[in-house]
Structures are given as structure tokens and as C-alpha cells.
């Protein structure tokens, strides 16, 4: 298997009012094509900044100093021109976020946003072609009546529904790498479990590599092939998911495992893929805040 993402000795510091803060102290992490890798660590340990570096966003932040190597698909992200980095985003790599509803643009319809994303790959794509492809993709994430969803605004859909929309949007351009930063943590546990299983099946089918970021070891257990444990900007443990679970080497990993809430400690709760709750999630919020 070829290596898709190859991070070597990645260091990051921020220049602030009170001097320089080191955030990453030489991270090495790699993901093979089609591999699902989890990055687990407590809040503030440096998980999200790694994702932002892979996307090439932090390199463009003035206060951030990034050094080390970030190889992606044969190219070197850190030394790339900003516009070449931007070309990779949304096409070769994409990202899904913690809170699906607030991560979608509130003033455009789902169909509109799909079209925007698809035109990153092919700017000349007609709206009809975009819609057809979006409907295909929404069907893949088991959304009923996808043609109607295209005309909805994010606030008209439930959080679980928006999560599926976001997954579909992130995969519509067939990226090689999907970055998932605590996806669905804002949703309730059963909805989160459903969508994660869905995401799992989908990336497997498409052969998409995933960097799955979480602070919850239990959530990643069924999802990832391999796990990296990060603690204060250092990788403290790495290995196949099963062996890290059965034989945690580092004290911090054991502490993380003890901290896993019981409901997910034994893996994700069993929720049938198509339940009543799933078929009727199109909550219409009829009133604005006013």
C-alpha cells in the first residue's frame, strides 16, 4: 500500500503577546491510501491544528510557525505555493466538522452548497448535473427524498441530517483523504453512532483514507484501523486499534481508556441502520429566533 499522507517531525508554534508557545513538538504520522487512522487525545493536545496543517491553512496564518515535512500524495504541503495548496482542498482532501448545522452556510440551500463544492473540481459543471450528482450522493448516505433536501436550508434539517449532508458533500469530489475533526460530537450519541457507521461504510466503498480526530477512544474503536495517541503535542503511542485497546502501552492511553464513558466503552451502541427515528428526522424548525 502506498503512503498517502506522510508527516515527519512536524513542529508548530504560535507567536503571541506573551512570546512563543510551542504546540506540536515533532509529530510523525502516516496514512496509507484508503486507510482509516484515528488521532486521539484530550482537549488542547493539538489534534485540530494537525488537520489545519494538512489542509495547508495554518501555514497561511501569520502567527503560526510550521516546520517539518507534510507529504501528501507525493507533494510537499509545507513548501507549496498557497494557491497550489488551495487547489488540493475540497478536491483531493476534504474535511468534516464537529457541528454539522453550524458548519453549513445558513443563507444558501443544500443544493446550492453542493454545486459550490462540485465546481471546485469542475467549474463548468451545470446546475442540473450538480443536482443529479448530489442526489446520487445523498442517496448513498441514506437520505430519504434527496431531491427535496436540495431545496432546504440547513436550519430546516435535523443535526443528524445535516451530518449526512456534510459527509456526502465531503465525499462528492472523491477526495483521497478525508479529515474528520470530532464529527458529530455535537449530536446525541445514537445519531452520532449511526452516522459514523455510515461514514465507515462509505469511505470503505470509495477507498477514501481518513484521519479521524477524537478525544474519545471508544468512538474510534470500530472505525479506525490504526490509532495514534497524542498528548501535549507529542505522539505517545501508535499501533493497530485492537492492540492499542488490548494492550495500551502508555500510561496516558490507559488513562484515556478509563475516561471513556460506559455507553461507548463497549464499542458504539447498537442502533439499527434504518429505524423509525432515522426515517423521520426532517425536523422543520418553523420559527426563527425572533
Amino acid at each position: 500500500m502506498s503512503t498517502l499522507l506522510d508527516i515527519q517531525d512536524l513542529r508548530l508554534s504560535f507567536k503571541g503577546l506573551r512570546g512563543i508557545t510551542d504546540v506540536l513538538h515533532g509529530i510523525s504520522l502516516s496514512i496509507a491510501a484508503g486507510e482509516r487512522v484515528a488521532l486521539v487525545g484530550e482537549s488542547g493536545s493539538g489534534k485540530s491544528v494537525i488537520a489545519r496543517i494538512v489542509l495547508g491553512l495554518l501555514q497561511e496564518t501569520r502567527s503560526a510557525r510550521v516546520s517539518g515535512k507534510v507529504g501528501f500524495d507525493g507533494a510537499e504541503i509545507n513548501t507549496m505555493r498557497p494557491r497550489d495548496r488551495a487547489k488540493l482542498r475540497g478536491t483531493e482532501m476534504s474535511m468534516i466538522f464537529q457541528d454539522p448545522t453550524s458548519s453549513l452556510n445558513p443563507t444558501f440551500t443544500i443544493g446550492n452548497q453542493f454545486a459550490e463544492v462540485m465546481r471546485r473540481r469542475d467549474p463548468k459543471l451545470s446546475r442540473a448535473a450538480c443536482d443529479a450528482r448530489a442526489i446520487e450522493m445523498l442517496t448513498e448516505v441514506s437520505i430519504p427524498n434527496p431531491d427535496r433536501i436540495l431545496e432546504n436550508y440547513p436550519f430546516q434539517l435535523s443535526g443528524g441530517m445535516n451530518q449526512r449532508v456534510m459527509i456526502a458533500m465531503a465525499l462528492v469530489n472523491h477526495p483521497k483523504l478525508l479529515l474528520a475533526d470530532e464529527p458529530g460530537t455535537a449530536l446525541d450519541v445514537s445519531v452520532q453512532a449511526q452516522t459514523l457507521r455510515l461514514m465507515h461504510d462509505l469511505v470503505e466503498k470509495h477507498g477514501t483514507a481518513v484521519l479521524f480526530i477524537s478525544h474519545n477512544l471508544g468512538v474510534v474503536r470500530e472505525f479506525a484501523d490504526r490509532v495514534y495517541v497524542i498528548y501535549r503535542g507529542n505522539i505517545v503511542e501508535e499501533g493497530p486499534t485492537a492492540s492499542v485497546f488490548h494492550n495500551p502501552g502508555h500510561a496516558y492511553t490507559r488513562a484515556l481508556m478509563d475516561a471513556v464513558p460506559r455507553i461507548t466503552g463497549a464499542g458504539l451502541p447498537e442502533v439499527p441502520e434504518v429505524s423509525d427515528a432515522f426515517l423521520a428526522p426532517m425536523v422543520r424548525h418553523d420559527r426563527g429566533a425572533a
Partner: protein, 342 residues
């Protein structure tokens, strides 16, 4: 669309109530201020009998409630009464003077939106860097003085010391333009007189800039603040993660959502220019409704006062309704709400 219609109907209902309230209030105040309107109108040489006749004709000896009743029944027939100052129907006066004020205010509004919003966007996109600093200092300057102060400053600078623009009025004396709309920039074009059009435009520059300067500053600062707040929203990060160009993110992801909270205040600022126009018109001898309003108040010309106030209140309300509709258009949450809200 039905929700937009509902907003419209509700706003129209509120507007009617506001108009009734304003008319009652001004009606009462105008009659409380000292001075006998009939005596003022007829002058010191009129006989007591003439004054008494005019008072009777104006129902001034009846109770204030009866007077308001006459007023309402006249207004419903589209009759605002005679002005004792111009000796013409008040409606005729308004038709003559209102377009000059509207032209000035609309021009100032175009400047406010056309300059204020882009400056705000520019500052927000380059926040913390020099374009932001320059724009913030300049806009702080413009909002820190009221429009009549700017009127005097601009007049001194660009009409006296540096005579680039005319000092006063709407049009040079040498032009004779037939009135069609009352908007000179439009009427001159209708007349096909391009040099008159340019002259009218040059007369508009200083008053409309003076009137709009603080509005430009307000709009820019507000747009900047709301846009910077929007830049922290997760959907901006999502847009960045999808590799959209910064200019596209600014326009579609940061500007549009941030306009929704800004618009209400910008709309109010625009309506407030109607009031500020009073002083700016005074400085530039602009023959608009404001000058008329001041003149009729000093003469206690009751009908003309009522007419002027009502038409300004009406304009204010129309602007507010337009802003509300624009917000509904921009905000899908309002447009797509299906149930009546309380």
C-alpha cells in the same frame, strides 16, 4: 412567499397605527405652542373681526377633539388643507418641496451603502493590517461630527476656498427645466439637457456627502464588526477547508450572513437622514421640504405642519418596510417560516 406577505401586512398595520399616533401627538403639540395662527397669518394690521372670521373658518374655537375630527375626515379625502404661509393647498407645497429632499436623501443613501459597505468589507478582509487601520481611523472621524458640521466644513473647503462645487441651491439660474418628477437629475435628462444634468449633479455633491458622511462611517464600522464576527463561524472554516477563494468566502460566506444584522441599523440610519436633512438643507439653501417645514413651524401654520410631519413619518415608515422586506429576502429563516409568529 406567504411569510413575506405576512410580514408586509403586519408592518402595514403597525404603520397605520404609528401614523395615527404621530398625527395625534403633533396635532396636540402644534396647538399647545403659544401664538394665534390666525393672527400670525393675517398680520398685525388685520382687524379683530377678520381674525375671528378666520378662526371660525379654521374651527379654532371648537374643542381640540372636534378639530381632530375635521382633520381626519379631510385627510381621508386627501385634503391636507390650505397653508396660511404659501396660500396654497398643503399637498401642492409638498409635491413641490418633497422631491428635492428625497433626491438629496436618496443620493446620500446611495453613497452610504455604495461606499460604507465596500469599506467595511475591505476592513474586515484585511483586519489587523493597514487597510483596516486606515478605514477605522477615517470612519471614526466621519461618525464623530454631525452632518450639519460636515455641511459647514465641506462648504468652506470645497465651495469657498477651493471653488469646485456650487455653494447653494439645486440648479444654476441659467437653466430652465420643466418639472416632471421633481428630481432634477431625472428631469434634466428627460429634457435632454446634459449640461443641466451635470450642473444638478454638482449641486448635489456637497449636501449629499455632508448628509451621508456619518452614515458611511456607521455602515462601514457595522459591516466590519459583523463580518469579523461571521469570520469566526464554523461555516467559514468549512469554506476554507473546501478551498474557496478568499474573495468568494468574503462575498458568499461572510458578507451575506453578516448583512442580516447590519441591515436594520443601516435602514434606521437612512431614515434618520430625513431628519438630518433639515440642517443640511438650511446650510446649503436647498429648496426642500425641510426649509418649508422650518418656515411653517415659525408661522404656526397648523395645516402645513401636520402635512410636513405626516409625509416625513410616512417616508420613514416606507423605508422601514422596504428594509424589512430586504432582510426577509436575505434571511431564509424568515422567508421560509411557515407558521405565524406572535
Amino acid at each position: 412567499m406567504s411569510s413575506v406577505l405576512r410580514i408586509l401586512l403586519r408592518r402595514l398595520g403597525i404603520s397605520v397605527i404609528v401614523l395615527i399616533g404621530v398625527s395625534m401627538l403633533i396635532f396636540a403639540i402644534a396647538r399647545v405652542i403659544p401664538g394665534d395662527p390666525a393672527r400670525i397669518a393675517l398680520g398685525p394690521n388685520a382687524s379683530a373681526e377678520q381674525v375671528a372670521n378666520l378662526r371660525a373658518e379654521m374651527h379654532l374655537d371648537e374643542s381640540i377633539f372636534a378639530q381632530y375630527g375635521y382633520f381626519v375626515s379631510d385627510v381621508l379625502r386627501g385634503d391636507l388643507g390650505q397653508s396660511l404661509y404659501t396660500n396654497r393647498p398643503v399637498t401642492t407645497d409638498i409635491v413641490q418641496f418633497l422631491p428635492a429632499t428625497l433626491e438629496l436623501v436618496i443620493f446620500a443613501g446611495i453613497l452610504m451603502v455604495g461606499l460604507g459597505l465596500p469599506l467595511g468589507i475591505l476592513a474586515a478582509r484585511h483586519r489587523g493590517r493597514w487597510p483596516d487601520h486606515v478605514i477605522r481611523v477615517l470612519t471614526l472621524l466621519t461618525v464623530s461630527a454631525p452632518s450639519f458640521v460636515w455641511a459647514v466644513i465641506l462648504m468652506l473647503l470645497f465651495a469657498f476656498y477651493l471653488p469646485l462645487f456650487p455653494v447653494a441651491g439645486r440648479l444654476g439660474d441659467s437653466f430652465d427645466i420643466a418639472t416632471v418628477t421633481g428630481f432634477l437629475t431625472i428631469d434634466t435628462l428627460i429634457a435632454g439637457n446634459f449640461s443641466a444634468f451635470l450642473d444638478a449633479l454638482s449641486h448635489l455633491v456637497l449636501p449629499s456627502v455632508a448628509l451621508s458622511l456619518s452614515g458611511i462611517g456607521q455602515a462601514a464600522r457595522l459591516t466590519r464588526a459583523n463580518m469579523i464576527e461571521t469570520y469566526d463561524k464554523p461555516y467559514i472554516e468549512m469554506a476554507q477547508a473546501f478551498g474557496f477563494f478568499p474573495s468568494r468566502i468574503a462575498k458568499r460566506y461572510a458578507f451575506k450572513p453578516s448583512m442580516i444584522p447590519s441591515l436594520t441599523i443601516i435602514g434606521l440610519d437612512f431614515a434618520a437622514m430625513l431628519g438630518n436633512a433639515f440642517l443640511v438643507e438650511a446650510v446649503f439653501a436647498w429648496p426642500g421640504l425641510s426649509r418649508y417645514g422650518v418656515a411653517v413651524i415659525l408661522r404656526k401654520d397648523l395645516n402645513a405642519i401636520m402635512g410636513t410631519v405626516l409625509i416625513i413619518a410616512l417616508t420613514f415608515l416606507v423605508v422601514n418596510i422596504l428594509v424589512d422586506l430586504l432582510i426577509a429576502f436575505l434571511n431564509p429563516r424568515i422567508r421560509h417560516s411557515t407558521r405565524a409568529s406572535s
